[in-house]
């Protein structure tokens, strides 16, 4: 049997796959946050960053495909293991104490699948810019930053999060991601065997700190927008649009 078959066929091996894919996804989540936090800088920072990514499609697409493939592997392994785990106890106990098992550890599949559903929505919302799912009436595809010629991501983000239900959904998803990673990051070290009794308390603490920092970091964006961040920029571009659409002298209704 070759190495991959041996890995995929064993329960420990499947956890290696989950841990490695989870680790790369975690790196992405950290990097993505760092990029996104530029929303709190003047608008041209985020838009230049976005234009930089958009103009390097030969880099962006391989990265996207690898991330997607890893997410699929992560989910397939999670679901297959869950099926085996459920089959391992056909009759359940009449009375059962979860014991030391934390809530996060018991709800990994659920939190994970809900993150998966969020990822689909998020990609439709801001990547594929499907107008029907942003509920603002604005077509994000038409928001172009004249300075870069690429999408005006700053305006898009502010418009997007101005809708309370959309922001609330993002906050919920980030809460679940926090829960997932509070256990997942520890589990990752354990599954790869990179842990011993000296490091494990440290890893447990670091996992929680990382999860909470990610939650606060990501949440700050919709919360910031709901508190009014970026509205002045929207007014500015709306007036510009109005000027080009309605030449001087005509009334704006």
């Amino acid at each position: 049997m070759n190495l991959w078959t041996q890995v995929w066929r064993s329960s420990l091996g499947k956890k290696y796959v989950m841990a490695v894919s989870g680790f790369v996804l975690l790196l992405f989540v950290v990097g993505h946050l760092a990029g996104n936090l530029q929303i709190f800088l003047p608008p041209h920072y985020l838009n230049h960053y976005a234009a930089f990514l958009q103009s390097n499609l030969e880099v962006i697409w391989p990265v996207r495909l690898v991330l997607l493939a890893l997410l699929v592997l992560h989910i397939v392994a999670a679901v297959q293991l869950e099926v085996e785990n459920k089959a391992a106890r056909p009759t359940s106990y009449a009375q059962k104490e979860p014991g030391a098992a934390s809530f996060a550890s018991r709800s990994m599949l659920l939190s994970g699948l809900m993150i998966g559903a969020f990822v689909v929505y998020h990609l439709l919302h801001y990547t594929a810019v499907v107008q029907a799912v942003n509920f603002t009436g604005v077509d994000f595809a038409k928001l172009v930053d004249p300075a870069t010629g690429h999408r005006d991501v700053y305006a898009m983000t502010v418009y997007g999060f101005s809708k309370l239900p959309v922001s609330a959904f993002y906050l919920l998803a980030m809460g679940l991601l926090c829960l997932h990673l509070s256990h997942g990051t520890q589990s990752m070290f354990q599954s790869l065997g990179w842990k011993n009794s000296y490091y494990s308390p440290l890893i447990a603490k670091a996992a929680w700190v990382l999860a909470v920092v990610l939650f606060l970091g990501y949440s700050s964006i919709p919360v910031g927008v709901l508190l009014g961040h970026g509205q002045d920029y929207l007014k500015q571009i709306e007036s510009k649009v109005a000027v080009t659409q309605f030449p001087a002298g005509k009334e704006i209704k």
Partner: protein, 257 residues
């Protein structure tokens, strides 16, 4: 004290099984849980009923035979204690106690509270042999073992193979058991020659027996009567990964041409 017991009764492996309620009267605090069941059984026998079948052997916490889930916790939830060492003073008068067998596909119930743990024996067999030098007693320092390694190996060797880890795990995973067995020998020079083979074969036997996978909930180490640590599971993951990376050794003629 008087107690109400809800006990799982099951005729044999093919019968569905159900709970029966029994009254345990005049229970003495110093009895162990198993002694209390013995008294209940005496009553049942006197009334011409079938006594409750449960496993036990040493009754001093070292053989790993006793195996009851009490109020949802294997061995009853008193830290570092097997159910044969659990005393009735841990309960209070008038309490209702639910008693169930270990429940896992790999541990089919044979009767009442007795399950078949052959799957563990198969895993041990899959581990194979350990090369040990025979002959005269070796010199004291001929085979150095660091004290920390010896202690850690002993912590792993403390596993009595009762299966409480499987019983409590939400996935009925046998990882803690296999981790203890693999780690114990991987830590010592005596187990080195067969180190990789042992990890691969024991994990394979574990998967084949139909246990679930580890999701690192830590429920196992909490109920383990020998307090075997979760970090042995990390060690097992490491041993297995190491063995996979090393791969099967190429067959050679061993110099025979």
């Amino acid at each position: 004290m008087n107690l109400t017991l809800k006990v799982w009764r099951q005729k044999n492996a093919n019968n569905p099984g159900h709970f029966e309620t029994y009254q345990a009267r005049d229970v003495i605090e110093d009895m162990s849980f198993l002694e209390m069941l013995d008294v209940v059984n005496e009553d049942l026998i006197a009334q011409g009923q079938e006594p409750i079948a449960f496993d036990s052997d040493c009754r001093e916490g070292i053989c790993g035979t006793c195996s009851l889930v009490i109020n949802g916790i294997p061995h009853g939830g008193h830290k570092g204690t097997t159910v044969c060492q659990l005393h009735m003073r841990r309960f209070h008068d008038g309490q209702t106690i639910t008693v169930e067998p270990w429940r896992a596909r790999a541990f089919p119930i044979l009767r009442d509270l007795v399950c078949d743990r052959t799957a563990f024996d198969k895993i041990i067999q899959a581990g194979g042999f350990v090369s040990v030098n025979t002959g005269g007693t070796p010199d004291a320092n001929a085979l150095p073992v660091p004290k920390t390694d010896a202690d850690l190996a002993m912590d792993a060797a403390a596993c009595i193979g009762c299966g409480a880890c499987v019983a409590t795990c939400k996935n009925a995973s046998a990882m803690l058991f296999v981790a203890a067995k693999v780690s114990q020998l991987a830590l010592l020079p005596q187990g080195k020659p067969e180190r990789e083979r042992r990890a691969l074969n024991m994990v394979r036997a574990m998967d084949e027996a139909g246990f679930g996978a580890c999701t690192v909930t830590g429920a196992c180490e909490a109920v383990c009567p020998k307090e075997v640590s979760l970090s042995f599971i990390a060690r097992l993951n490491r041993e297995f990964g190491r063995a996979l990376l090393k791969g099967e050794p190429k067959k050679s003629s061993g110099g025979a041409g």
